[in-house]
């Protein structure tokens, strides 16, 4: 589905990514872990088309992917809602008209638990509601790939759990391929089909793990504990190497 080949990505003289080859399958939920500075957010920027200063190729269903593409959407760490627009206007942002996107704002608001809040300004939302609105905006153009850059890191633990479940429901309903960056191993284990560990300073993946637990998962599933320890050890080694 989405084929990613990064030969190299530099910041000045410092290589941050590559050589790296990833392949994401349709409907797959993949988490990216790695030490700070391992280029996780940079990789999402590249995939979203925001960063074009890199070497390599991207293919979506064997067709080259250049720059920003409506099939690939990105939800940032912060909601990044435009404060002067209402929630509904934020969702419609950048679309010629609400009819052209094939999406129903009200439906998406309902799906993300924001029914009745469409006319509110971002300042009238809680942190969790704002992040839900950001996810709803990310879904407005009916993307096939949803990229998430630590989307739940700024909300409290209870809200985070609710948002994680929301994400899983949305992924299943829209048959979305999800690639998310996270620092939370428990979150990665709960959400993901696969977990990838990026090295610091470029190079191939340090680790690639399939999560053995079946869905729906329990947050206290003990069967994933050995995997959690392996990933933790790997991250610890990466941190030391960095």
């Amino acid at each position: 589905m989405l084929d990613i080949r990064i030969d190299s990505k530099f910041y000045g003289a410092q290589q941050v990514l590559g050589p790296l080859h990833l392949h994401l399958k349709q409907g797959e939920v993949v988490s990216l872990l790695g030490a700070s500075g391992s280029g996780k957010s940079t990789l999402l920027s590249i995939l979203a088309g925001l960063d074009r200063d890199w070497c390599g190729t991207l293919q979506l269903d064997y067709a080259p992917l250049h720059g920003v593409h409506p099939a690939v959407s990105l939800v940032f760490q912060e909601p990044r809602l435009f404060p002067w627009l209402t929630v509904a206007e934020n969702l419609r942002f950048g679309l010629p008209s609400s009819d052209d996107c094939g999406c129903d704002v009200e439906l998406l608001l309902e799906e993300t638990g924001l029914q009745g809040l469409g006319q509110r300004l971002p300042k009238q939302l809680s942190g969790g509601q704002a992040q839900r609105a950001a996810i709803a905006r990310g879904l407005m153009r009916s993307p096939r790939v949803l990229l998430l850059d630590e989307p739940f890191s700024a909300v409290d633990a209870f809200t985070r759990m609710k948002l994680q479940d929301l994400l899983l429901r949305i992924a299943a309903r829209h048959q979305l391929t999800i690639l998310q960056v996270t620092h939370d191993i428990d979150e990665a284990l709960y959400l993901s089909d696969r977990i990838l560990v990026l090295p610091a300073g470029g190079g191939p993946l340090r680790g690639e793990f399939s999560v053995p637990a079946a869905r729906p998962r329990s947050r206290s599933d003990a069967s994933v504990l050995p995997l959690k320890h392996r990933i933790l050890d790997l991250l610890h080694l990466s941190e030391q190497a960095a």
Partner: protein, 285 residues
């Protein structure tokens, strides 16, 4: 029920009995409306001036009592004060509009285009440092003594604060919001209209407010030198005829007009920036 529990419930019942008495009605402090609070200081100053002059502490030819200034204003009102006020207000309106429009265009151009900024901004910053009065002889030489030099001087006064507001406002827009606009494939002109302009609006409106204040000041400078109508002319006329009451009447009117125009601008700002999640000073702070 254990003894301890009995004691506990006994105490609770006692508390319940105490709390059953009607609570005292909350004392609500009476507060003056904000606009009235704003009038307190000028009213106090005027009253102090009135008393000081009447008590002979201040010479009435240098500081006429407010009651005399009020009489002068009434007298001037019968002798065409409205035409002076209208002339000054019109000059400020035209000069400010021209200066602000030029500043918005110029500020946006320098903020959005790096080479334009590199070429023009240092010169604009240097020109900004020139005092208003330094422009007057040059404008009189170039444009004569009609309306043109006055309007240009007012426009110059309004230009710089608005330019600074627009330029700094656009350059200070959060990169992350622009990134969202890029993600949704907005063209540069759409980005400017839908993201940069609204995000820079707080700074632009502050610039406009400062520019309007300076426009009133530059209007006085312009009218002091060459005018036969306007509040600046009244100031000059009062000085030449040693009528401190006329000078103070003109100053008072300038203060009222300046405050009124700033109040309108403030209302506009509050309306346009209602979306801002800004700090509000609590009334009881």
């Amino acid at each position: 029920m254990s003894d301890q529990a009995a004691i506990y419930f006994g105490q609770a019942a006692a508390h319940a009995g105490q709390s059953a008495a009607p609570p005292p009605a909350p004392t609500r402090r009476r507060q003056l409306p904000r606009w009235l609070l704003g009038l307190l200081l000028p009213a106090a100053l005027l009253a102090a001036a009135e008393l000081a002059v009447r008590a002979g502490v201040l010479a009435p030819n240098l500081l006429p009592p407010p009651s005399a200034i009020l009489e002068t204003i009434t007298e001037l009102a019968q002798r065409g004060l409205a035409s002076h006020v209208a002339a000054s207000t019109l000059r400020v309106a035209v000069g400010f509009t021209a200066g602000a429009l030029a500043a918005i265009l110029f500020g946006a151009a320098t903020a959005l285009h790096r080479p334009t900024h590199a070429i023009f901004d240092p010169t604009v910053q240097a020109l900004r440092a020139i005092p208003s009065l330094a422009w007057v002889p040059l404008l009189l030489l170039w444009l004569g003594i009609d309306e043109a030099p006055k309007l240009v001087l007012i426009a110059i006064g309004a230009f710089f604060p608005v330019y600074m507001g627009v330029s700094a406002g656009i350059r200070g827009v959060d990169r992350k919001l622009v990134e969202v606009a890029r993600l949704y494939r907005l063209s540069p002109s759409q980005q400017a209209r839908q993201v940069l302009l609204p995000a820079a609006l707080p700074a632009i409106l502050t610039g406009l407010r400062n520019g309007l204040g300076l426009a009133w000041m530059f209007m006085v400078a312009a009218e002091l030198i060459a005018a036969s109508k306007g509040l600046g002319y009244l100031l000059s006329d009062g000085r030449e005829t040693s009528r401190a009451d006329i000078v103070l009447a003109a100053i008072l009117l300038l203060a009222v007009l300046g405050k009124a125009s700033d109040g309108l601008m403030l209302r506009l700002e509050q309306h346009l920036l209602a979306w801002r999640d800004s700090f509000e000073i609590p009334d009881h702070a």
